[in-house]
């Protein structure tokens, strides 16, 4: 029993330590971004929502993860490098490139001779689900952000951040004295990557196998059930890919039915922003909180419309798109180039 208590205590302390480092990382990025605003806006052409979308998209494709890029967007918003609409677009962009790594690895295996259709699987479907809903999410989000009654009225309790301020401010002072703004931005970003990785390891594993949902690889569940499962699991993991990874032990052969997978990803896409919401709260910036909240609500609205009105049609579209892309090497190459090319074009044109 004492061992168990010790393990739980150690885990909790680890989470608090990671949170502190996470806040430090956000503050470092904010510190670094402020003086670099003209350079970011000029050099990267991040001066419109479209270019911010491209920046977030390209950033997450290269960073191989969406959460650090979303956290960066909040820091840039806090540093007033980005305005609200641009931050919203950059966070949306961070979702569009988040699963790019799976696509690249799958493509490498195809080049090495592995059966093409088999190499794509879950990764390609995850990307396609996200990419097909996000045009509607952006539209809904901008409409919601434009609503005057949605002006941020939420104010964080100063006391909640006082402890962090006590620890972080002195550290920041020291770091500012020794690291230039660009270094602060880069080190802060890397620190975000490390802390998010550490969070994944510290969060207790969910054992779905012991539940009635343990047959998700074979049995067809109701879409709403799998949707809620995806949303719930991702609330705890805060990452769609980690959340999907939890399903792997449920299948002896490493498969999952598409009819379970697609609603699961739809649910996961909503609560994957939990870590970004926490980051916004830790920044003590009500605008940031509102923007992340609107992002989540927009995804929820679009997802509910699909679930209620046209899930079967949507599953069919995703299924045929995935088969079409994965079944043809040239199409797959074009798809990969588009994933990199569209954000670059948005940066250039936007």
């Amino acid at each position: 029993m004492w061992l168990r208590v010790s393990l739980i205590t150690a885990r909790l302390l680890g989470i608090i330590f990671c949170l502190t480092l996470f806040v430090l990382a956000l503050m470092m990025m904010k510190d670094g971004a402020g003086p670099l605003e003209p350079w970011i806006r000029g050099h990267f052409s991040v001066d419109t929502p479209a270019s911010a979308l491209g920046f977030g998209w390209l950033g997450s494709s290269l960073a191989l993860s969406g959460s650090p890029v979303a956290a960066t967007a909040l820091s840039l918003l806090d540093a007033e490098v980005l305005n609200g609409a641009e931050a919203f677009a950059m966070i949306a962009g961070s979702r569009l490139g988040a699963s790019f790594l799976l696509l690249i690895i799958g493509f490498i295996y195809i080049i090495r001779g592995q059966q093409q259709r088999l190499s794509m699987g879950v990764g390609l479907i995850s990307l396609l689900v996200t990419q097909t809903i996000y045009p509607a999410v952006l539209l809904v989000g901008y409409i919601l952000l434009g609503l005057s009654w949605l002006k941020p009225s939420y104010v964080t309790e100063r006391e909640a951040n006082a402890l962090f301020d006590l620890v972080i401010e002195p550290l920041l002072l020291v770091l500012r004295a020794h690291i230039p703004p660009l270094g602060m931005l880069i080190v802060g970003f890397l620190l975000v990557l490390v802390t998010l990785w550490a969070f994944d390891r510290l969060i207790p594993a969910i054992r779905l196998k012991e539940t009635d949902l343990g047959l998700v690889a074979r049995v067809l569940y109701r879409p709403v059930i799998v949707f809620l499962l995806g949303a719930f699991v991702t609330t705890l993991t805060m990452s769609v890919s980690v959340s999907l990874g939890l399903l792997v032990p449920l299948s002896v052969r490493g498969y999952i039915r598409q009819e379970n997978l697609i609603p699961y990803i739809l649910g996961a896409n909503i609560t994957t922003f939990v870590d970004t919401l926490i980051a916004a709260a830790l920044l003590n910036n009500p605008v940031a909180v509102t923007i992340v909240f609107v992002q989540m609500i927009s995804v929820l609205i679009v997802t509910l419309v699909i679930l209620v009105t046209s899930l079967r049609f949507y599953e069919r579209v995703i299924h045929y798109m995935a088969n079409w892309i994965a079944g043809n090497r040239l199409l797959l190459l074009i798809y990969i180039l588009l994933i990199l090319g569209i954000p670059i074009a948005l940066l250039w044109i936007g």
Partner: protein, 279 residues
């Protein structure tokens, strides 16, 4: 054998009676005509209709009874059909046109029957122009499907149709580095390699072959979305009768019914051919 034929006064009931004849059940089968939607106060409609149905079945069966009970259809059905001597319930229904079925305000009777009956249910939608030749049996690929297959073999054994046993794999692979060869298998290669699906198809064929009643039994393994692949197979084979199992029966746990999708109901709402639902 005991068979209940639900008669609602429409031409669909007559079609159901004619379809039932195609199953070639023994003459000694106890057939009960159950009048639904009728009132005790107005039996004349049911009398004419019953006479018509009787005339269709008279030549083939010696024991034909009639039951008319007024009141709520479902309550009466429920009380009568729980009789253990009943082996099959037959119900004639017009095919649901795709564009209109979503506009229904309430579930059709066939859907309610599918959910709540614990007897095999034959929903007749149309009559084959020739004999009942092509039957598609869909299996979920797990142990729960074995009793369904045995029951199906028993119910269809007198008709001697060609049977296609279909399992649909809609899975995709998590692990991009794994071989996942199972996802490319045909029925033949799956049975040859002894995969989970292959072993199940083998077992299914053995069960059907043991009955000795079928002209031909063909295993089929399709890959894609379950509903789409079943519909595609029906179109390709020009299936006369679709046989499916149902997880949604009254004796199944409530929690399980909340969690699992009702594929039988989904297929019932999509296909235009007749459907035999076996629990």
């Amino acid at each position: 054998m005991g068979v209940f034929l639900l008669c609602d006064g429409s031409a669909s009931s007559e079609t159901a009676a004619r379809f039932f004849l195609l199953l070639n059940y023994p003459k000694s089968t106890q057939v009960t005509l159950f009048g639904i939607g009728q009132t005790v106060q107005n039996p004349s409609v049911s009398r004419t209709h019953f006479n018509k149905i009787r005339s269709i079945l008279d030549q083939s069966f010696t024991q034909i009874d009639e039951v008319v009970i007024g009141g709520g259809v479902w309550d009466q059905l429920h009380n009568v059909i729980s009789d253990p001597s009943i082996d099959l319930v037959v119900y004639g229904e017009r095919p649901a046109y795709s564009a209109l079925r979503h506009l229904r305000l309430s579930a059709p009777l066939s859907s309610k029957l599918e959910r709540n009956l614990d007897k095999p249910l034959l929903v007749v939608r149309n009559l084959p122009s020739e004999a009942l030749e092509r039957v598609l049996v869909c299996t979920s690929g797990d142990q729960a499907a074995i009793p369904m297959l045995k029951k199906s073999a028993q119910l269809l054994s007198w008709a001697h149709p060609e049977i296609t046993v279909l399992h649909v794999m809609s899975q995709v692979a998590f692990n991009i580095t794994g071989s996942a060869q199972d996802l490319l298998d045909t029925a033949e290669t799956a049975m040859q390699r002894g995969t989970r699906e292959g072993l199940h198809l083998k077992a299914a064929m053995e069960i059907l072959e043991t009955s000795g009643a079928f002209q031909k039994i063909v295993p089929r393994l399709r890959h894609g979305l379950v509903l789409d692949e079943v519909l595609a197979e029906i179109r390709t084979q020009r299936t006369h009768l679709l046989v499916i199992g149902s997880h949604f029966r009254v004796q199944r746990g409530r929690f399980a019914r909340i969690l699992t999708a009702d594929i039988a109901r989904d297929l019932l709402g999509e296909v235009s051919c007749s459907v035999l639902i076996v629990s």
